[in-house]
Symmetry: C2
Subunit: 162 residues, 2 copies
DNA sequence: TTGATAAATGTTATCTTATAACAATTGTTA
DNA sequence: TAACAATTGTTATAAGATAACATTTATCAA
């Protein structure tokens, strides 16, 4: 008996939960999650795959909002600062952070075909890179680890129920 | 007695050597390192820090060459395919590959201040990421590991001679 | 050598991503 | 309420990348 699983979706926390957590975090930090910023965060979480700034802008305009690129980029800057979203450098796109509550270095598995992203947080990767840097007296400010490939769904990998 | 070291420079292979190696590799592979492609590779190697496509284009035009963006991007595509250069996704820039002869996954230490780049090739990083991917039945096509920070020179770190 | 073909480059136009600069609005606090 | 800071609106443009088609150059078979 074959039982296909939708791995990617099963790992997406729901949108409302992400928004509530963002609300709490910003309150704790004394930063302002304005309407615009909350809406941008919501748009990002609503999307199954990462979004580009201009795609987000399109949604905002569909909302009936005014807006130009800076509108979006400023909101994105805020959300990045707060650790509520990540920027995927290889795609020039943005995706919701799965663990906005704690500082962590992330690694991303990005599916070339469907665009869905899995966020990892393997401390060993972080440590290895820090060690390499330390050896060279290099001060680490940020890490960017992205693995491009194909997710199980897009590979057509079937899982057999045990 | 204090002995400052110029670590970054000391690791840059010289340009001629890089070009000769590229020549040999392309000959072995039956690919054509044309004048344009060789010149672009030379421009990249001549620069102490990574270059953007348009900066390369400017140099080409100073050469007296004709050219438009596609001219450069096509040459860059070829050099990337041949593994003679790397693209730094966080900077949208290109840098010469230190080990074009062997397939390898690279990690980069990128100095935010001076822009200089150190290329690492730590197999453990590669393996960790492959393991994480394998666990998730994710097929790896490419890895992008970039560490942004400050190099010893820009931190003002002094080295003491032993 | 020539003609046919493929590869590389030239050229124009356009698309995508991102930011600078300044104006208007909104929120906060003395 | 006035003064100030933060946020958002608006216009323009910079910077990175590619599509589409023309032209040139290299390669190779006849």
């Amino acid at each position: 008996m074959i039982q296909p699983l939708d791995l990617c979706r099963s790992q997406l926390p729901n949108v409302r939960q992400a928004l509530e957590q963002a609300e709490v975090l910003c309150q704790q930090r004394g930063t302002r999650l304005t309407d615009l910023r909350r809406r941008v965060l919501e748009i990002i979480w609503n999307s199954p795959a990462p979004l580009g700034a201009y795609a987000i802008l399109d949604v905002l305009r569909n909302d009936g909002r005014q807006g130009a690129p800076p509108t979006v980029y400023r909101a994105l800057d805020f959300l990045l600062e707060q650790g509520l979203i990540h920027r995927l450098a290889t795609l020039n796109m943005f995706t919701g952070c799965r663990r906005p509550d704690c500082c962590h270095s992330s690694q991303f598995l990005i599916c070339r075909d469907c665009g869905q992203v899995e966020e990892l947080s393997n401390p060993a990767v972080d440590e290895l890179l820090r060690d390499e840097a330390a050896t060279r007296q290099f001060e680490v400010l940020a890490q960017m680890v992205e693995v491009l490939g194909r997710c199980p769904n897009c590979r057509g990998v079937a899982f057999h129920a045990r």
